[in-house]
Symmetry: C2
Subunit: 235 residues, 2 copies
DNA sequence: ACAAAAGTGTTAAGTCTACACCCATGA
DNA sequence: TCATGGGTGTAGACTTAACACTTTTGT
């Protein structure tokens, strides 16, 4: 027996929801689709799964194609398989979400794909069911970040507490008390204070911190739970 | 343009990890595979996605095929797509996990598929990468049950607090103080006390409770967090 | 009358929340 | 010197964890 005969084979695609944080707003990276149908409309970066690559490999390839980045945080989100989601031919799409340090993103590549960063609150109309994919990704990043320290993936290697706080406020769309925030974050033992300061944001300057990678992996599960309003997990 | 020519099409399967609780132990339902390869070995219930059905529909169909049950809790888990996972032909598998009331399961169907319930701690060797699927499902059910009231799906419509507690203890593999347990569970407002008792477990009998469905949907998010040892979420 | 499981309250410890002032610096 | 953002501590409220005895009833 060589094949499962009689069974129908389908197209399988991978679509990536790529998150970045510019210091102020959480954004996603979208491209202008380069082929029909829906050519020139805004779309997630995606591609078909090739015969010799796993799903994770496909997602990494697609991410690298647009951003040149490798080894970034990439997690499988959900698989979308409604029969009519692609009008040309049935295509099942496995979605991944990526968290990248926006500073490492090479803007030159944007041109090839006509890529642009969009604030999560101003995402344009997307092709097919990609709106739904983005919603699922927003929900997942909040859900996961409420308990796991994934948001550090969006920051550069050295970052300040005010930056980190702005990021959390932006992801959870809620103000956080800075005294309580710093106490809780520092209590995790995940941060190592540096001696130098970031003077960009203020005259006094804010101390840089780096992740303690040992503790990071150890505490990745069961991190903390400091979102003021759990309702923010709802949507 | 009618098709995405030049792209390779793949087989797509759905595999279900079906959980049940017999009042003492958390179990999964396995079948003896009826065709080659690996005929007669233990396997998850699964099947190929058909041209005219969505993934959710396929999962429901497969679940119904084995259990005759419909409308049960079914959630997409993860999609497995390593190129070599099925030795005959590349097949990507979308996994779902189901939570069913084991009492509603008709044992007669077991015979057609040679199905059997296995305690989670004694799962036999499974075909392909299904061991990994079961691990992912165990992890997910714990993770989710730590914050959402999904475990009620494993119980009959009327159940007692001791039953519920045994279920939580079994899922999280940890003893729970019954005074604290009943306080917290009742504080959620999800349970309605009945007037009759279950006399099966003791001479005195334990009061039955039913879910308050209104509160159930309202509180499904942000339920409670009463697992003594968060380490149990780790594996 | 006794064995076996159900049911129920209190206290101390720990955690979380709210809140306000001083510091450092560049302009 | 002043405007701007950075950094820090405490008290009260609330939540959680630990713990033991009484009730019911079938045998």
């Amino acid at each position: 027996m060589q094949k499962y005969s009689k069974q129908t084979r389908l197209l399988l695609a991978v679509d990536c929801i790529i998150f970045g944080f510019d210091g102020d707003t959480l954004k996603i990276l979208l491209i202008k689709r380069s082929f029909e149908p829906q050519k020139d409309n805004w779309s997630l970066m995606g591609g078909f799964v090739q015969p010799k690559e796993s799903l994770d490999q496909a997602a990494n390839r697609i991410l690298k194609q647009l951003t040149e980045l490798q080894g970034v945080y990439l997690e499988q989100l959900h698989t979308f398989g409604n029969t009519k989601r692609d009008p040309i031919e049935r295509t099942v799409s496995v979605t991944y979400f990526a968290l990248i340090d926006i500073n490492k993103y090479q803007t030159q590549l944007s041109k090839d794909y006509h890529a642009e960063w969009f604030p999560l609150k101003r995402v344009p109309k997307l092709i097919f069911d990609q709106q739904e994919m983005v919603e699922a990704a927003k929900k997942r990043i909040r859900y996961k970040a409420a308990m796991h320290p994934i948001l550090f993936e969006l920051l550069p290697g050295k970052f300040t507490l005010p930056q980190l706080q702005t990021l959390y406020e932006s992801v959870f769309n809620t103000p956080i008390d800075k005294r309580n925030f710093s106490k809780r974050v520092l209590a995790t033992g995940l941060l190592i204070k540096q001696n130098d300061k970031d003077k960009a944001g203020s005259k006094r300057g804010a101390y840089y911190y780096q992740l303690n990678m040992q503790n990071y992996y150890a505490k990745f599960q069961a991190f903390m739970n400091f979102i003021p309003n759990p309702d923010s997990l709802l949507h």
